[in-house]
């Protein structure tokens, strides 16, 4: 048996959930970023898999979207980490539970 689309989707769902887990339950800001990266990667995996299993021939839309999403994810990671550093400078902590300034 060769891997089917279902399998890829399950793998990506698993990866997504793990990313969500990291983003939701860890207190360290960097873990949240790690989780987000994982979720993005899971989404990319979906794009590629759908492209691969779609009826051929067709334009490589899925691949292109994945490429762009990686680029955007890179930008996001850079900004996110920069934010972590500047927040750390400001509050001397990276524990997100102590960062509740959003509270109205």
């Amino acid at each position: 048996m060769t891997p089917t689309l279902t399998l890829f989707l399950i793998i990506s769902a698993a990866l997504f959930s793990i990313g969500l887990l990291a983003a939701l339950s860890r207190r360290h800001a960097i873990f949240i970023l790690i989780g987000i990266e994982m979720m993005l990667a899971a989404a990319n995996l979906n794009f590629i898999a759908f492209w691969r299993f779609a009826p051929q021939p067709q334009a490589p839309t899925g691949v292109m979207v994945a490429i762009f999403s990686i680029a955007i994810a890179a930008a996001e990671a850079a900004i996110g980490l920069a934010l972590v550093i500047s927040v750390y400078r400001h509050y001397r902590t990276t524990n997100v539970e102590k960062l509740d300034q959003l509270k109205g």
Binding site: L20, L24, V96, L99, L102, K103, G104
Partner: protein
């Protein structure tokens, strides 16, 4: 000339309106210019009205109209126009003529007022709006001008705006008439929907003509009643009469204008104008709507006369007499005596203006004292005013032969006597006539006879600018009777469109003796009761309870304040409360439910759900505050909520497909 004025009938209201705007715009600080402009406008309007009057004399039953499109909505044109017929022409002349003398009187009465020229702007506007009502050939245009009359009265009654009582009175006047106007508005809508047009006359297609009325069918009675509610509001009919006495807070010329020529006349005029609708489908001259008109009129007439007996304010007495007379007119219209009602309206316009201006002269002479108990003996001090006032009083009481009011009143009694439904209105009307004579005698005695009391001691006769209008109006009041007598019922036939014949034999009719007896009884009783009256009222001594009942206007104001006003104020508080607590609370609850997920997630391992419940019980300060309090401020909570929301969407989508 004839065709020119028919095509330019709009100029009659336009002249005072233009003057009003001109005064407001230019003559702010030049009082003389203001009054001059207003009087010029009124003279122009009077001239044009007379010019318009001429063609209606030539042919009996003359009627011409001119319609045009106001605006087009979708594919439908909304048309309005103006009409000239005997009814309109007679009213035009009366309004402009009486109005003119009121204007002249005002230049004396209002002299020295801070806002002198603004007063004349308002007066001109008032006159313009009323003239618009009269010439309107569309119920919509009539309603527009009708509301402008309301606005003008609002401005004028509250002219002495620094007086809180004036401010309250003017608000009351506007709102009370507006209650009636809502009915009128609904009537207009219904009429428009039913007949497809709001034009009165449109070459056979108007809503007062055959096809339009037939299209209405049975709904005509309801429409008529709704329209009557508007008329009742403006004309001070029970139970919407309460604003009229309070309207005395305005300067006296305003009271004269409101009570004689404009405003209150509008309601009677409206019923007369819409008479084909009221009488549509009449059996024996009786329709349900007209029956209502009669009974309301009867109640109003009697109530007004009764209350007037116990008032002490010179203007209030006149105000209640106006209410009573308007009720009389309504009865006349209701029993089918349209011409009689309108004739009484016209005659009443003259002598009530005379009485009000006379009372204005008295008030002016007594340094703005209005309590008749403090006057007395003025006939020596103010002879001209006394004479004029006496003529007005006799016209109002209906002293036969010489005075115009007597003839019209007699005709009304005549019409009422033949009403097939019930004889009760006739008897009650007779009682009203007696009462009218009674309270007018009382007023005359208190004001002009006896010894001068405190306010009369320093009194003086008014300047000629005020007495001349009195003389003119007094002469007119007498002269008008020439065209009213049964011997030569010219005005009657002019209004009904039949030729008038001179026949001296008909002058003396049985009804003449009836009214003579009634008036004599009223005046005699008055003299008997009040001959020694001064500071205290004989009625108050002998029937204190009845007197207090009448003096306090049958406690109707108090009744309204305790019921309708209190209830609606309570409703407003209630809706505000519901808004703040129930509806907003509902929203907050829904918002709170959404937030509950967040609370559970955020506080799960720290504080448990318990604390969250405590907080939700405490948070009742608006959704914003509530959400703010619920926000943990932690991004992880937010993300968790988003994830749960996504999951819910997923499930919803899977469930739907």
């Amino acid at each position: 000339m004839t065709s020119w004025i028919l095509a330019h009938l709009w100029l009659i209201p336009a002249a005072p309106l233009a003057m009003s705007l001109l005064i407001l715009g230019l003559a702010g600080s030049r009082p003389r210019t203001g009054s001059a402009l207003a009087i010029i406008g009124q003279v122009v309007a009077l001239g044009l009205a007379v010019v318009a009057f001429v063609p209606t004399l030539e042919t009996p039953g003359f009627r011409t109209f001119q319609n045009f499109t106001w605006f087009t909505f979708g594919e439908q044109a909304l048309r309005i126009g103006w009409v000239l017929d005997p009814l309109a022409a007679a009213m035009l002349v009366m309004i402009t003529f009486v109005g003119l003398w009121i204007f002249v009187f005002s230049t004396g009465y209002m002299a020295g007022d801070k806002n002198f020229s603004r007063f004349f702007a308002y007066l001109s506007f008032f006159s313009a709006a009323m003239l618009g009502v009269v010439i309107a050939n569309s119920l919509l245009l009539l309603f527009v001008c009708w509301e402008l009359v309301g606005l003008a009265s609002y401005l004028l009654i509250g002219f002495w705006i620094h007086k809180p009582s004036a401010a309250a009175a003017t608000k009351k006047a506007f709102i009370t008439t507006r209650i009636g106007d809502i009915g009128l508005f609904l009537g207009i809508l219904w009429l428009y929907g039913g007949s497809g047009t709001l034009l009165f006359y449109d070459g056979g297609n108007g809503c007062l003509e055959k096809t339009g009325l037939l299209a209405l069918g049975a709904s005509a009675s309801f429409i008529a009643l709704l329209i009557f509610s508007g008329a009742a509001g403006k004309s001070g009919q029970f139970p919407l009469h309460v604003w009229l006495p309070d309207a005395m807070e305005g300067p006296t010329p305003v009271s004269a204008l409101i009570h004689a020529a404009t405003m209150v006349a509008a309601g009677v005029f409206l019923v007369a104008r819409m008479y084909p609708l009221f009488s549509f489908g009449a059996l024996d001259g009786v329709t349900p709507s007209l029956t209502v008109v009669v009974w309301i009129g009867v109640v109003t007439a009697l109530m007004g006369a009764l209350i007037a007996v116990a008032q002490a304010d010179i203007k209030r007495i006149l105000a209640y007499s106006t209410i009573s007379q308007l009720g009389l007119m309504m009865v006349s219209l209701g029993v089918g005596g349209v011409a009689a009602g309108i004739m009484h309206l016209l005659a009443h316009g003259f002598f009530k203006a005379l009485l009000f201006l006379g009372s204005g002269s008295v008030i002016h002479g007594c340094h703005h004292e209005q309590d008749i108990r403090k006057m007395g003996g003025l006939r020596r001090i103010m002879p001209v005013t006394f004479l004029a006032y006496a003529i007005g009083m006799m016209a109002l009481s209906g002293v036969p032969l010489l005075f115009s009011g007597a003839w019209t009143k007699e005709e009304i009694l005549h019409a009422t006597a033949h009403w097939p439904r019930s004889p009760v209105p006739y008897y009650l009307m007779m009682a009203g006539v007696v009462l009218t004579a009674l309270y007018m005698t009382r007023q005359m005695i208190c004001v002009f006879f006896g010894k001068p009391r405190e306010a009369a001691e320093r009194a003086h006769e008014s300047p000629s600018v005020m007495t001349i209008p009195l003389i003119v109006l007094a002469v007119c009041t007498i002269a008008l009777s020439a065209v009213l007598t049964p011997a030569w019922p010219w005005l009657h036939s002019y209004l009904t469109g039949e030729p008038a014949q001179f026949d001296l034999g008909r002058l003396i009719q049985p009804m003449l003796f009836v009214s003579l007896a009634l008036v004599a009884a009223g005046i005699g009783l008055g003299i008997l009761f009040y001959r020694n009256a001064g500071r205290d009222d004989p009625l108050a001594r002998s029937q204190p309870l009845l007197f207090r009942f009448l003096e306090n206007k049958m406690w109707l104001d108090e009744l309204y304040a305790k019921t309708v006003i209190a209830w609606s104020a309570m409703f407003s508080k209630l809706s505000d409360w519901m808004d703040r607590h129930i509806w907003d609370g509902l929203a907050r609850t829904i918002g709170g439910a959404g937030q509950l997920i967040g609370i559970v997630s955020a506080n799960f391992d720290e504080r448990g759900i318990n604390a969250g419940v405590d907080e939700s019980a405490a948070g009742t300060r608006g959704l914003g505050r509530l959400i703010a309090a619920r926000h943990s401020g932690r991004i992880q909570t937010y993300m968790g909520v988003i994830a749960v929301g996504m999951l819910a969407l997923l499930v919803l989508y899977a469930w739907l497909t």
